[in-house]
């Protein structure tokens, strides 16, 4: 006796205005009677505070009570009996030695006509915040029998018409990095020798597009070993009166490989273009209606050639070091058609 859920899409991705469709697959040894077959869709926001800027007390509370953002239930089958002979619900017999039933279902996620006040959040799994949608099939079978149930996650993505129109030319922001823009101590030879890296990077980026920008190393007294772009994610949760923020690196991409020796002499006026693709599941467009926020940043990190760096091989790229120069800019990620 087993119960299984199968959604109509293998990707399990649905838009709020679409029908969530699928099948309940039952395998029964004998016919059973039940008090109804129900499909329930749930959406919750789970928040968790740990580390980051949270204090001891907040950490103590740990998990904040989940916020429900969706709860919809549909009866697919009124109470009755399920047996091999019951044609009304069994559609196809799949296997030979046990009776299998497929019960198709379909449910509306967002009812039309209702005002759009209820906003759907996209599925999101972060470090401290997750927005999850689950679908559950239940077969209740009275007192003496254990009810059958199966649960699976489905993914919500914003519907097409609410997507942003892709801007014709992405909005670019110019920046420059010199020894003067750095707020942390630098190698003495960097301070005396000067360096200057300028560039352009978009302030917003569609999730399906590469993040493309330009970088020009105009001068540097110390050879550059590497230039990396980090995409940072900042999850903020309102705890009491203040936001607790947790920042994590979700992608790091090298855009210039200097190998110490050559970079400067050969690429004084080169333009670097960066390209990377952010994994879809890691990020969502964000609104701030709930007591949390999710933001992104892009950070340009220049690693200079230095003997010192060898002493501390694996460092958090966000930690300012003597041989690093950084620039961090906000980045808005969105889903476009």
């Amino acid at each position: 006796m087993s119960i299984e859920l199968k959604l109509s899409r293998s990707s399990r991705i649905y838009c709020p205005n679409e029908f969530l469709e699928g099948k309940i697959i039952l395998k029964l040894n004998s016919s059973i009677s039940h008090q109804g077959v129900r499909i329930t869709a749930n959406g919750t926001v789970n928040l968790q505070v740990r580390g980051g800027s949270a204090g001891v007390i907040e950490s103590f509370y740990g998990v904040i009570k989940p916020v429900h953002i969706m709860n919809k239930s549909v009866e697919v089958k009124p109470s009755g009996k399920l047996s091999s002979g019951t044609t009304e619900i069994s559609l196809v017999s799949i296997s030979d030695n046990s009776n299998s039933f497929q019960i198709p279902f379909s449910m509306v996620l967002k009812e039309k006509g209702k005002d759009d006040f209820e906003r759907f959040y996209e599925t999101y799994h972060g470090a401290n915040i997750s927005i999850q949608y689950l679908i559950t099939a239940d077969i209740t079978r009275g007192y003496l029998h254990k009810s059958l149930s199966a649960t699976m996650e489905f993914i919500i993505e914003s519907e097409k018409d609410s997507l942003y129109k892709r801007p014709m030319s992405p909005e670019m922001v110019s920046f420059y990095i010199t020894q003067d823009t750095q707020r942390h101590p630098l190698l003495p030879e960097l301070l005396s020798g000067r360096f200057r890296v300028t560039g352009k990077i978009p302030t917003q980026c569609s999730l399906s597009d590469p993040l493309t920008g330009e970088l020009t190393v105009e001068a540097s007294a110390v050879p550059i070993r590497s230039i990396d772009i980090h995409v940072l994610r900042m999850e903020s949760i309102l705890v009491g009166e203040k936001y607790v923020t947790e920042t994590s690196v979700i992608q790091t991409t090298q855009v210039a490989d200097g190998d110490g020796e050559f970079l400067f002499r050969y690429f004084c006026f080169a333009i670097y273009e960066l390209c990377f693709v952010i994994h879809t599941w890691l990020s969502v467009p964000v609104s701030l209606q709930l007591p949390f926020s999710i933001e992104f940043q892009v950070s340009i990190v220049i690693t200079f050639q230095s003997e010192l760096s060898k002493l501390q091989p694996k460092a958090d790229p966000r930690t300012p070091r003597l041989w690093l120069a950084l620039e961090t800019l906000p980045l808005r990620l969105f889903r476009a058609e």
Binding site: S10, S11, P210, T212, E214, I224, R225, I227, D228, Q251, T252, T253, Q254, V255, A256, D257, G258, D259, E261, F262, L263, R265, Y266, F267, F269, A270, I271, Y272, E273, L274, C275, F276, V277, H279, T280, S309, K310, P313, K314
Partner: protein
Amino acid sequence: MEFRARDYIAEEASSSLHRAPTDDHPLLLVRPSSNQVDVVELKRNDFDDPLRRQTANEKNLVADVQDAAHISKRGLFSYYYDPHISQKDWGSFKTSLMQKFPASKMVSVSSISGVIIKSAKVNEKSSTKVHIEELNDPQKFTENEVKVISRLEYVERLRELKDEIRHAWGTDDRVTSLKLSIKVAKLLMDNSVSEFYPTLFILVTEVMDMLGDMVWERIKTKAECDNNGTRICSLPDYFQSCDVCSDAKETCYNWFCKIGSIHELLPRIYLELAILHCSRFLNDQPFDSLHRLTMMMRGLADPLASAYCRVYMAHCALRLRPYDIGYLITCFRDFKIILSNIIFENDAKSGNSLENRKQLIGLLEPAIEWIMKCIFKGPCERQIEDVLMEFGLGTTPSDLCGNLKCISIVVHHLIEELPAEIVCSHVLEIIKLIEGSNDISYDQSLNFRLLGFKLYEVRPEGELLDSIIGEVLQVINEYDDLDSYLKVADAYFDIVLQCHMDSYLAMILDSISRRTCGRDINENELSSLQSIFIKLLAHHNNLDDLFVLKHFVEILDVLHGNARDVVNMHILRKATRNACICDPATIQFLFEISQALHDGIDISNMRDDHQQAVRLITHFVEKVDYGAALERHLTFLLECRGAFGRINDLKEALVHSSNYLAVKAIKDANKFSGFVKSCIAFSEVTIPSVSANMMQMNLYIETAEVALLAGLVSHADGLVDAAVSCLRDLVQADGSQVAIDIDGIALLMQRLFSLLVVLPGNPERGAVYIPKSIISFYDDKPWITPRMRTRFLCSIVSLSATLSQEKLPYHVNNEEVPGNDIIFFGDPSYHQELISISRSVLEKLIDNIQLEKHSAARGNIALEACNCILSSFKASEETLLLCSKLIEIAKSCSNPSDKYLRSTINVFDKYVSPLITKIEINITKLNILSVNCHSHHGHPLLSTMEMCTL
């Protein structure tokens, strides 16, 4: 037993063919029919040149391999592959790259290439959860030691990795495949392998291509099959992204995402390039990514890595067939920046020695070549114009060259790739371009040289050509360096010569002579000079035209060593092509040249070119003709003998020449005796130094003939004696000597006998003194075959029979020399002597023939002997018995229907018939007459007809 009387004139008349006068020369009129040509061609093709055959095979092999590779892919995307432009070229590029950098056995490897050094420990866990990020080796920057492993080991390890990737893919463990591929791509980050880098590049790109093909196939399968793997549709070759189902698209997109999230730049680029052609599933305009990739490559600072990365891009982009080559142009622009940084960098500041930089440029050169090739691979004309603009051609060149400094190695490959017609139409700008580029990457003069060769293909005309040559000469005139000057001059020499630009020719020669005077010439310069001289010689038909050229001889004198020999040989070849060489100055010049050649010949080591030199000198001596100045000619021969003492073949030529002079003098009655004697004396003195006995003997006989012709009987006697002693030496030489030419000896002997017919016998020594003495040393030599001995014995019989005639078949064409028929006329003891020697010979004949082991040969020689007897003797019991025995032998050995046997029996029947008193015998069976025809050793001018009358 009695000799048969012969009427040679009647015999000749009866057996010679009917002759009719003809108006046309039968040989002159032969037209080269197509048939004949075919035969010649066919023979050429049949000629089995082992070297050429091999290369042909190799080519086939390579082609086969490529075909196979092509076929395996054809099913998938034949549309992508134009086999002519992409795969084949790429294949040959790879081969040339491998050949160009045969890396040393050991490869130094930095720790980046950990995957190679560490023992093959591959994570077999097929856990898809392993993130690619984990691959980022945190140790990368901590270790910088350089390790050394053997090249073979490296290649072997890479091969293993490739197999592992394929294996993992086969077991549906695509994540491992990708992980390993990334590791392989990372190997290219290691530039410490230097010389090995090109090889490494090839090996790595092979892995990348394999991965790319596997991904392509997977996505295509996804697009064509449903979830259960059944094929539901097939994508057309020219499919569009809308033909592809979303499932396949998603997989494809995931691949790009996965590869996009590789941290390191270089492997990320390589892998994206590897699957670049798959972007067709997502996008109908996949070319945009090429531009992005070009920009991304700018982040690679290492010149080697970035150059080869661009090569791979150009290769991968060909699969997309982009209509726009803008990305390549950008690539090239970046390339030029890299190069100019290397080239114009300050030695002291960078600590990078000139040597290192040149080595680096050498490693980069194939990349320049390949990208240049891709740029000019079939763009339309308008695009070519655009490309040319990029290089500063096609517009006003002076402006562009000013701000865009060109790099000579780039210019080199540009000229190389440009079609000759375009080179020609932009030639003046190109000259400016070459002029403006003079740096360490490539020798400027070699660019001029290349331009010269390109121009030679098109041959511009008139004024343009004039200004081109003028311009080039002006530029190279600035060169102090002889080598560079020569290299350029050599390239333009053909054009200058063919267009008869005499003033430029004079200018070049003048410049060369100015640069060569008073200094040593090195090997390179020698070979350039050699080439120039050969071109000069090839162009001029007459040597005299060359001698009048200013500086010609002067520059020639500068040459030395092998180059000098080669040029000298060319000069000699040119000179001996004429019918004769008459001008004393020319002769003197050629003599000096020959002397120089001769001095360079190493007798102990006769290489092929030395043989050729010997032949040429000999030829030259033969062709010399002083006309009426016979004494001068003889003096010349004397000089030659002194000068070319080490050449054996030449002595033969000298003897022939002096005999020729003697005959010429004999004809010219005024200058008789004294000069002829000195000629003969010259020959007599020269012959003993000829090393081959057979040749000596031949020359002795020839000289004896000349002496007889001059009436110098005692000289002739002496010479014949010398010939006989030569023959003795020959015969007595150890039979084990393989080189002994038995037939040749037999022929020489017969030739000697035919001379004996006219040589006046010496009554004191007896008529048959010479044959007797020959018999004495001919016996008891076990190595002499029965066949040869039979021939010899028959010759003696024929000689005796001829000498017994009342009228000899021929006489010396000199009244002062009496024939033997006159000297011994009616002398019975003379006849007796002849009969007795014949009898003693005949006694040995049968036994000797029986010794021949081979039955067919035995039959043949029996018939020969029989014919000889039949033609020599009158029918008698004795001879009949002998002949029937011989015929029996022949019958037992050969087929009864054998023609020779039949005709011999026929003659024999007539012979025995008492009714027929005069027997006609086929004259061709008469050895004695055919002897002279056999001797092909004779001097061509000294024909037998001249001294003999039949």
